[in-house]
Symmetry: C2
Subunit: 105 residues, 2 copies
């Protein structure tokens, strides 16, 4: 799927880490939402409220999931899931384009 | 208007200047399109194909419009129009959130 149809897009950007991580919120008719984001090279720690599925569309990064000592590397495309109310770390080495889906389960 | 409704959003980001300028394309039912973008601090030159209306939602920048020697400064919100097939320069001093509308006229 190259585009999301019949959605609403929030005009204002979500801006984190001085703009090194930014995203736009997309709302779907079924009440769910996703963010479309960009991460510039850097090291970040994020916290989740809901369960998140991170789909990497492009870029290069490593991710350390909650409770793990290991770093998983993704170059190009990839995906990982983070449970709700958790923290995860990212080291981005090449500009990353992503879609984050927020899930209730 | 805080969000765009009943639109399509292209999943893949538009990435320029090593990710310092990025945007997402939003397509409207009437066939028009806008991009929602972020510009990090830096100096940029852009070229237009269509006429563009740039609405600045947040940030701080100066812009030099085609054929002008002057720099116009925008802090917070603002708007400027660039004709088709022209070049304009921007100096962004604080992360800028923008909506660019592409017009045929």
């Amino acid at each position: 799927m190259s585009q999301f149809d019949q959605v609403s897009v929030v005009k204002q950007a979500n801006i984190y880490f001085d703009g090194k991580v930014t995203s736009r919120t997309v709302k779907f008719a079924d009440g769910t939402r996703k963010t479309l984001g960009i991460m510039l090279p850097g090291e970040y720690e994020f916290g989740t409220d809901q369960k998140e599925v991170m789909e990497i569309l492009a870029g290069e990064l490593t991710v350390q999931l909650p409770g793990s000592e290991e770093w998983i590397s993704i170059s190009g495309t990839g995906e990982f899931t983070v449970p709700a109310n958790a923290k995860f770390k990212l080291k981005v080495t090449q500009v990353a384009d992503y879609v984050c889906s927020y899930l209730d389960a």
